[in-house]
Symmetry: C2
Subunit: 622 residues, 2 copies
C-alpha cells in the first residue's frame, strides 16, 4: 500500500476543475452579496453551457483551502443580520462524544482538530429561526433567493430551443401532479417552504453552506452517505469522500459514522462542507451507551441533539414514527427490520414495553429544531429490506404515523421531509408516492432507491437507480444514493462516484420526465455536439467527462480522432451520423436545383395527411 495517494494528493485531484469548466457566480437582486455558483462549460464552437454546481469552493482554484481551518463562512452574515440569534457558550465536549473512555486517546486526537469547532449560535429565547417560520410571515430570506437563482440558471440558455414549438409540445413533461412554474422566483420558493412542500436544510451553525432546496417542484436532489464504521476509514478519508462526493454532484451528504471519533469526524465534515449535512443522531446516542439499545434514554438523546445542533448539522433523521404497536407487524416479514435506526428503536420499545421515546418527546425535539433551524428527516425504521416486504402493513402504518408527525412539526414551524424505501418492485412504487403525498400532505419525500430487484448485489446502484428515476418522476424530492457495494461492504472512492453517477442519471431522467424548466438544455447541447462530431464538447458536457474521454481513447487514442467525422463504432466508411449529414446536404441541393425539389415534396407529403398511410404496394417482380 506504499503507493496509496496521500490525503493531500487525493484532495488536489478532487479540487481540479472539470475539463473546460470555470466556476462563475450569479448575483442576488434582493441580496446583492449573494454569490450563487454555477459551472460554465466552454464549448469548441464558442457556446457556453452553465450547469448546477454542488462542488463548493473546492473547484475554485482561487480559493485557498485548508481543511484544518475549514471553509469560508459567507452565510454567517446573513444569519447575524436577521438579529434573532445569539452566540453562547455551547455544551462541554465530553469524552464519550467521540466514543472514547481514556482521556489520553482523546487529547491526542483533538489537539490538532479542536480549532475547527466554531462558537455555537441559537435562537434568542422564544424565537423560531426556521426558514418555514420566516416564510409563513412572508419574509424572503437570502437562502430563499439563493435557491431560486440556483434552480433557474439554465433558462436563458433554453430560449433557443423553445423556438421550436412542435418540439416543445411533444416533449412537454408529465408532472404527475407537481406544480412546477416556468420561472422559479424567490416568492415561489418562500411559498413552497411556507406550505411545507419544500425545505432548505440550513442550520444557523453551518455558515459554510450554499443553500439548496428539496421539494417536488424543484430539481430532484441526490444525497450521498459517507461515514466511518467500526471496521473502516479515518477522519481525513471521510473529509476527502465529502469533497469527492460533491465534485460528482451530491446535493447533500449524510455522515453515518458509527465508530470512534464521531464528534470530531463530524466537526471536520461540517467545517469543510458547502452542502447540507444530515445525520442519524441515534447512532451516536447508541455509542454513548456502549451499543446497548435498551440503555438509551431521552436525556442522552437530547444531549446528542444539542451537541450536533451546535456543530451545525442541517437535518436529523429521527425514527419517531416506529411505534411499539408496529413491531409485531414485522414478525412474518422475509427480512424483518433492516433500518439500523429502526431496529434500535424496536429493540428499545420491546425491552421497555413502552412507546418509542422519540415519539413521546417529539414536541421537545421540535423545540430544539426551531432554535437552530434543523430540518426533520422523519426516518422510516420499518422500510422493507426485500421485495417480499414491500408496501406491507408495517411499512404503511409507520408512514401514516410519519404523516401525523409531519403535522406536529409544521405546527411548530419546523421544516420536515419524510424518508421512504428501500426495496420495491416497479409496479408498487407509485403507491409509495401516493400514500406519502396523501398522508404527509406533500412534505418532501426522500427515498433510498428503491431497489427494484434483490438479485443483483454488486450492482445495486443500477437496481435502485431504476426505482429512483421512477419515484423521482412521480414526485420524490431527494434520492439517497446506493453504491455498488450496498449489502456487501464499505464503499470506497470509486464506489461513491459510481453511486453518484447512477443517481445523477436517475435524478436528471426524473427532471426531464416531470418537466423541470431547462432540464433538457444539457441533453440538447450534448446531442448537438454528438451530431456535429464535436468530440471534446461531447466529453466535456458529459456527467463524467473523464470516463467518456477514456472510453473513447481506448479505441481511438489519437488526438486527430477527436476531430474525425466518425467514431469507432462503425469506422470511417460507415458512420450513420455521417451518412445522415450527406443525406441532408443531398436533399438540400436537390431542393435548390429543382422546382419539384425535396422541400416541395416534403410540403406535399405533410399536406396529404392521412393519405400517407395508404396500403403498401409491393412489387411481385425481382
Amino acid at each position: 500500500m506504499s503507493d496509496k495517494p496521500t490525503f493531500a494528493e487525493l484532495l488536489q485531484r478532487s479540487r481540479t476543475p472539470l475539463p473546460a469548466s470555470t466556476k462563475t457566480w450569479l448575483q442576488g437582486q434582493r441580496f446583492p452579496a449573494l454569490r450563487v455558483p454555477q459551472r460554465r462549460i466552454s464549448l469548441t464552437n464558442g457556446e457556453q453551457v452553465c450547469v448546477y454546481d454542488a462542488s463548493g469552493p473546492y473547484t475554485d482554484p482561487a480559493v485557498d483551502i485548508d481543511v484544518r481551518r475549514g471553509l469560508p463562512a459567507p452565510r454567517a452574515a446573513w444569519v447575524a443580520a436577521r438579529g434573532d440569534t445569539e452566540t453562547y457558550q455551547g455544551r462541554c465536549i465530553a469524552l464519550q462524544d467521540d466514543g472514547l473512555r481514556e482521556a489520553s486517546q482523546q487529547q491526542a486526537l483533538r489537539a490538532g482538530t479542536d480549532a475547527l469547532q466554531r462558537q455555537p449560535r441559537r435562537a434568542v429565547s422564544g424565537r423560531n429561526v426556521s426558514q418555514m417560520h420566516y416564510a409563513r410571515r412572508g419574509i424572503i430570506t437570502a437562502e430563499m433567493e439563493f435557491v431560486a437563482i440556483r434552480e433557474n440558471q439554465r433558462l436563458e440558455w433554453m430560449r433557443e430551443y423553445e423556438q421550436d414549438t412542435e418540439r416543445e409540445m411533444r416533449l412537454r413533461g408529465d408532472s404527475r401532479g407537481a406544480s412546477i412554474p416556468a420561472l422559479i422566483t424567490p416568492e415561489f420558493v418562500r411559498d413552497e417552504i411556507a406550505r411545507g412542500r419544500a425545505i432548505i436544510p440550513a442550520n444557523i451553525n453551518h455558515p459554510e453552506l450554499e443553500p439548496m432546496a428539496i421539494g417536488r417542484n424543484f430539481l430532484v436532489k441526490v444525497n450521498a452517505n459517507i461515514g466511518n464504521s467500526a471496521l473502516g476509514s479515518s477522519i481525513e478519508e471521510e473529509v476527502e469522500k465529502l469533497v469527492w462526493a460533491t465534485r460528482w454532484g451530491a446535493d447533500t451528504v449524510m455522515d453515518l459514522s458509527t465508530g470512534k471519533n464521531i464528534h470530531t469526524t463530524r466537526d471536520w465534515i461540517l467545517r469543510n462542507a458547502s452542502v447540507p449535512i444530515g445525520t442519524v443522531p441515534i447512532y451516536q446516542a447508541l455509542e454513548k451507551v456502549g451499543g446497548v439499545a435498551e440503555e438509551l434514554n431521552w436525556a442522552i438523546f437530547r444531549d446528542t441533539l444539542i451537541e450536533q445542533a451546535e456543530q451545525g448539522v442541517d437535518y436529523f433523521t429521527i425514527h419517531a414514527g416506529l411505534r411499539l404497536a408496529h413491531v409485531p407487524l414485522t414478525a412474518r416479514r422475509r427480512t424483518g427490520i433492516v433500518s439500523r435506526g429502526g431496529s434500535i428503536m424496536a429493540k428499545w420499545c420491546i425491552a421497555h414495553h413502552r412507546e418509542n421515546f422519540l415519539l413521546t418527546h417529539f414536541e421537545e425535539i421540535c423545540e430544539i429544531m426551531q432554535a437552530y433551524d434543523i430540518s426533520f428527516s422523519l426516518g422510516d425504521g420499518l422500510r422493507p429490506g426485500s421485495l417480499a416486504d414491500a408496501n406491507d402493513e408495517a411499512q404503511f402504518a409507520e408512514l401514516r404515523t410519519l404523516g401525523e408527525l409531519t403535522k406536529v412539526a409544521r405546527k411548530h414551524e419546523v421544516q420536515t421531509m419524510v424518508e421512504g424505501p428501500g426495496h420495491v418492485p416497479m409496479h408498487l412504487i407509485q403507491a409509495n408516492m401516493d400514500e406519502q403525498l396523501k398522508h404527509c400532505d406533500e412534505a418532501p419525500f426522500y427515498t433510498l432507491g428503491p431497489l427494484t430487484t434483490d438479485i443483483a448485489p454488486g450492482y445495486d446502484h443500477i437496481t435502485s437507480g431504476i426505482g429512483a428515476a421512477l419515484i423521482g418522476w412521480f414526485g420524490c424530492a431527494m434520492l439517497c444514493y446506493v453504491t455498488p457495494k450496498e449489502h456487501l461492504g464499505l464503499p470506497d472512492r470509486d464506489d461513491v462516484k459510481q453511486g453518484l453517477m447512477a443517481y445523477r442519471i436517475a435524478a436528471h431522467a426524473a427532471d426531464l420526465a416531470k418537466g423541470h424548466p431547462g432540464a433538457r438544455a444539457r441533453d440538447d447541447a450534448l446531442s448537438k455536439a454528438r451530431f456535429e462530431f464535436r468530440w471534446e464538447d461531447q466529453f466535456n458536457l458529459a456527467l463524467d467527462p473523464d470516463t467518456a474521454r477514456a472510453f473513447h481513447d481506448e479505441t481511438l487514442p489519437k488526438d486527430s480522432a477527436k476531430l474525425a467525422h466518425f467514431c469507432s463504432m462503425c469506422g470511417p466508411k460507415f458512420c450513420s451520423m455521417k451518412i445522415t449529414q450527406e443525406v441532408r446536404e443531398y436533399s438540400q441541393s436537390i431542393a435548390r436545383s429543382t422546382v419539384e425539389g425535396m422541400a416541395q415534396k416534403s410540403a406535399e407529403f405533410r399536406a396529404q395527411g392521412s393519405k400517407l398511410y395508404i396500403p403498401i404496394t409491393v412489387s411481385a417482380s425481382a
Copy 2:
C-alpha cells in the same frame, strides 16, 4: 500486450460453471428427447434454486467443445422429422461475401474454417416451415414444448412462497394489459405464435439452437450485440464474446459485423451458438457494393439474404418501413437519422428518387423467410438519436408502416417482431409501447434501451437500463442491451458483461412488475439468504456471483467473515439485521412467558383496526 490471455484461456474462463452451479435438464412430455437446460444453484442449507440458463453446452463440463467443429446439433433431428424440408447444394461462396478482392487472402483465411459450414436445408418447394405456419394449423412443435418448459421452470420452487396469501395479493404484478397465464403450456406457446404475439426465432439451418420465445406474455429477453468493424477485433474474439455474452445471460446475439470476413465470422458464430443469432443483412450487402449506398440493389440484397439464410441466421433486421416520403420529416431533427440501416436506406431512396427497395420487394423477402423460418425484426431506421427527436412524426410514421408490414408478413405466416427506440425520456415511453401495440397488433416489440437522458456517455448502460426496465414492464418483449461504451467506442469483454448485467436487471425488474409466474423466487431466495447471514448463498444466487464475492472480500477477506452474523457496513455490534433477529427472539420469548404476550398484543392491535391511527400523544416533560 504479451500477457493478454489466449483465445483458449479466455474460452476456458467462459466455460467454468458459475459457483455452486450445475447444469441440469428437464425432459419433454410430447418430445421425450428434449433436454431443456437450467442452472441449479445448491445452497448451504440444502435447498436448491433453479434458474433460466442461456449459456448453452459451454457451461457443461461433460461436453467436449472445439470451436472449429462447432456445437452438437440436437435440433437437426426435429427439423428432419417434420419431413417438409430438403438439403440442397447452397449458393457458391464468393470472394465478396467476406468483403475480399484477392483470392489469396480469402483462401488463407478459409482453409481452417470452411469445415464449419453445414450443407443448407430449405423448405420443400411450396411449403412454409415457419413456427407460425405450424401453430396456425394447431401443431405443437418440439420448439414450442421446449420453450414452454423453459419459461416455467421455477414454478415448483415457488409453491412455498405462495402459501402466504397476504403477500401474494400484495405483490401481485401489474401486467399492463398482458395476458400471462399461471402455467405456460405448449398449447399456450402455440396459440401465442399463431396469433403473432410471440416468436421463436429458429432457422432450420441453425440446428445447434436451444429455442427461446420472444413475446409480451413470456419472460422479457435480452439481446447482446457483437461484431467486428473496420477498426476492430478478430473472428476468434467474436466467438469468445458470443460465449461470454451467453454466460452472462444474453438470450439472443446479433452479429453486427461490418468489416472484412463477415461471412466467415458469421459461420463461426452460428456453428458455435446455442442462442438465436440475428443480423442486419444490409450491412453485408453494403460491403459487397464497396460501401456506396447508391449502388445497392435488390439482386445483391436478395443474394445476401439467401447467403445468410443458408448459414442459419435466425432473424433479420430489415429496414423496410423507412419510406422515401419519411426522409424529409427528419430534416429538422436534432440528430437526424442515427440508425445505420436507416441512413443507408434513406441515402438510397434519395439518390434514386425511388421508394425503398426493401419495401417494394417485401413480399419476396417474406417468401425467402418462409422457406427457412427466419423471423423478421422490422428495423426502425428512423428511431430517435436524442431525446429531442423522441416520438416525432418521422419515428411514428415509420412505426405505422412497420405495422402494415407486420400484417403483410403475417399473411405470409412469417414470424415477426418490431424494433423500437432509442432515446426517449421516461414520460414518453408509454406512448411508444401504446403505439406499437396498436399499430403492430401486439407483435413482439424489441427496443434499444431506450436511453432516458443524453448526458451520460460512459454510463449509457444505466441511462438506458432505466428505460429498458420501464418499457419491459409496459409490454416490450426483448431489450437490446447498451454497453458503457455506447457512443464512444467498441465494447470489450468487460463492457459486454456490464451491459448484460444492467439489462438482466432491467428485464428481471420488468418480469417482477408485470407478474411473470415464478419471477420472484430468486429475489426471495436471495433475501432469505441475506437475512440469515448465508453469505455464500447470497453470492451464488446473485446475477454476478464473482463481483458480489469480490466486493465483500475487499472489506472482509477472511473466510470466517462469510459465516459471520454481521457485515462490513455496520460492524459486529451494530448490524440491523442482527438486531432484528434479537427483537424477534425477544418478542417470541415474551409471548411464551406471559399470557398477555406479544402475540396477544399483536392480535389486539390488528383487531383495533382504524383505532390504531389515533392522534399521537406527546409528553411535555423531559
